[in-house]
């Protein structure tokens, strides 16, 4: 069955026709052509598909498009405003990504994490991103990247981004 939905994505309003069973991630990627949001699993385990739905990070592979009707969606494509978002900058400066496949999901998850908790501990960051899998980086630098962004968003001096060797 088809149904029309209206969603505001990264500030732009779209009306699209979807099947009632269409997953939100497919609408975002294939109809709206915002392919920054990725698909990494079929069991809601990996978080590659994370976007913000009315400001809350959700796994868009686990939400039907019709559930998003009338709501606001933010994807990675909308993150950079005047230059990179502090989180994007943090990931770049701290080498928080390798293949980049998990990165959009990590970023969107971290947006909400820092909003709720602007100065998280390492432990809080690790638990906070535990619904997002990264196979490449080993997470050390993702943690650093989020700490860097937190500092920047709090208006504090950002920590050094030189790799620390023992």
């Amino acid at each position: 069955m088809k149904k029309q939905i209206t969603v505001t994505v990264n500030g732009e309003q779209h009306t699209v026709e979807v099947e009632t069973r269409t997953l939100l991630v497919h609408t975002i990627r294939e109809q709206l052509r915002l392919t920054g949001t990725h698909i990494g699993c079929d069991t809601s385990s990996c978080g590659a598909c994370t976007v913000l739905l009315d400001g809350k990070s959700i796994k868009s592979c686990t939400v039907l498009s019709i559930q998003a009707d009338g709501k606001e969606i933010s994807t990675v494509e909308g993150l950079a405003k005047d230059g990179l978002h502090p989180l994007q900058e943090g990931f770049k400066e701290n080498h928080g990504l390798h293949c980049g496949f998990c990165t959009p999901g990590m970023l969107m998850r971290a947006v909400e994490l820092l909003e709720k908790n602007p100065n998280p501990t390492e432990e809080e960051i690790r638990w906070g991103i535990s619904g997002n899998l990264c196979r490449c980086t080993g997470y050390n630098n993702i943690v650093k990247a989020i700490q860097y962004a937190g500092a920047k968003m709090r208006g504090e001096e950002t920590p050094s981004t030189e790799p620390e060797f023992v």
Partner: protein, 789 residues
Amino acid sequence: MIRCKTSKEISGMGHSMKRKEDDRFLQGKGNYVDDIQLPGMLHMDIVRSPYAYAKIKSINTEAALAVPGVIAVVTGKDLEQYNLHWMPTLMSDTQMVLPTDTVMYQSQEVAAVIATDRYAARDGREAVMVEYEPMKAVVDPYKALEPDAPVLRSDKEGKTDNHIWHWEVGDKDATEKLFNEADVVVKEQMHIPRIHVSSIETCGCVADYDKVENHLTMYMTTQAPHAIRTVIALVAGHVGLTEEKVRVISPDIGGGFGGKVPVYPGYVIAIAVSFLVGKPVKWVEDRSENLQADSFARDYHITAEMAGTKEGKILGTRFKILADHGYTDAAANPSKFPTGLFSIGTGSYDYGTAYMEADAVYTNKPPGGVAYRCSFRVTEAVHAIERITDRFAMEVGKDPAQLRMENFIKKEDFPWKSPTGWEYDSGDYHAGLKLAMDTVEYDKLRVEQAEKRKNGELMGIGISTFTEIVGAGPSKDFDILGIKMFDSAEIRVHPTGKAIARFGTKSQGQGHETTYAQIIAEELGIPAAHIQIEEGDTDTAPYGLGTYASRSTPTAGAAAAVAARKLRDKAKKIAAYLLEVSEEDLEWEPGKFFVKGAPEKVKTIQELVFAAYTNHPQGMEAGFEATHYYDPPNLTFPSGAYICVVDIDKETFEIKVRRFVAIDDCGNIINPMIVQGQVHGGLTQGLAPAMYEELIYDEDGNILNGTLMDYLVPTAVESPSWETGHTVTPSPHHPIGAKGVGESPTVGAPPAIANAIVDALSPYGITHMDIPITPYKIWKTLKAKGVIE
């Protein structure tokens, strides 16, 4: 400390340059296979077998074809008409594309459904009715070798058992004599379990055949696009797809780790369908399909033995392997190396006698034998040697660090000939272990451990001091399907001094767009920021064998340096001409040639390049381009010293990695930030099989954990905060002294963790535990020992 020869502006080797590829990934502008959407594109989904071993009695496609949007269902019988139902594997075995009569493992491809969108394809998949006649599956590789085991590959004429091949290396008789006479012999039976690379992007493709042009463009998650093009031409040349008519594009790849080296049936079916219908066909597998059907890694059963003196001198090793290959040998190894580079397993120690043998066997499991971020079976080898070394230390009552220090090959003994025939290029094992011990404060930890033991607390310290072997490989020994394992670089410098360089490799996250630019910047003095790197398009890039087994830096990285040096030679000639001096009078400094003793007489590289287009000497070829195909003279031998500290809860047996110090030696370092990032990532992929990951099958061949809900890829919570460092022992034979690093940590970490856990449990007489070591396994082991109720 890393010294840089170039300024930060040039950012040659040694600079932690921020990655050039990041901007697109961070803004959602990466271009991965599933992002490709072509006009008229069809979608493919695959029907898979619920049984591990069954006859196919019938396939009824009627209901599927009635699903709106479904346009075709392809079966093995359809492909048989074109002789495309079987394909060769990289190891010259055969693999089904789609079966005509028998399925050999659970989740094997049985039929493909083609539809106008992915939902219709899925509906069609559910509607295909297959009638099976299940048979008793062969799951245990030891049972597969018993005389009454059913012969699985009865399709092969004359095959009377499930044995695939036998391999051996070393001196069998001398080793046997040594073991018979040695004071001390230790032995452990180990299983290195079947695991899965599980890159976060699964595998997929868009096959786009143009009937008018008779041309195939294949967008594909492949680590080796050129080899794939050749394979397609070899397999489909007879229907007109000759090599110039095939273009393979490997776009951005969301992690590879070896899982994107093989050719999976899905790719072949997509090509066949696109060829027949003349439309683009997209196939992207689900995660569960990826885990259940794509190539596995490891699955070696190893009997490891070490012989030595009572004083703790290692004298010899003997390893016997049973390799479970699933129903075909589809391992990704160089042709002449059925066990990959397992023969590195004599390790970092100075002794002269070793023997290794392996037998491979068919079972009703998926085929594979890929890397999982490792150079051709090196992880299995390192696990065996590092575990048995600890076992030996335990037997002779010596501290495992001390024992290693006493047995290491000495720095001055390189190049060193190993008892299995390798020539290690360079290393400083003592320095690495010393740095690791100082960093972790080893002696203090041992004191703490002794205190804790008095209270019955479980604390363990584990060491792994491994030697890797990467950079395959020299053409005299290394080929894949006959193609020698060189790699290539082509550099073009534009008149204004900015460059583009193309390579036969393909990054899957390693950061080639940055590190290759840094190598060229180092050699030519052109800022890395102005050197664009391209890979993955067979129409434009020079031929190469691709990126896996940590071979990119050792091979293509070397090719970049040599090609850049050719250009520097040309620049020198132009400088001599412009400055009116002889070439001998010129001196190079990154970015410029100047006259010796008269530094004001200078030409920058940018001026010299411009002259190559505008004012080149008579008789010289215009332009500023060079290509090099690099055939390495030897492999490179990175090494590492890892120390892991664990605390185990004495009630729940929960294991906590308290500290993990990794000292790597990968020779000269191109980009310290990227090297460190590679090490972090590799360590987490070493932690994974040590404590969490294993593909588990029941006795009927059903996979018990084929989704990411129960196949435990570590999250940020399981993964500890890694501490990393390095020693630098350049490779003497590599143009820039680099060795390759992406996999060392995956190779080195598991035995460090296993050794730490066994160390913690050693007061209870435990000498070995198979990975993954879980709280449940500890509980079971202690219970079996009678330690707990």
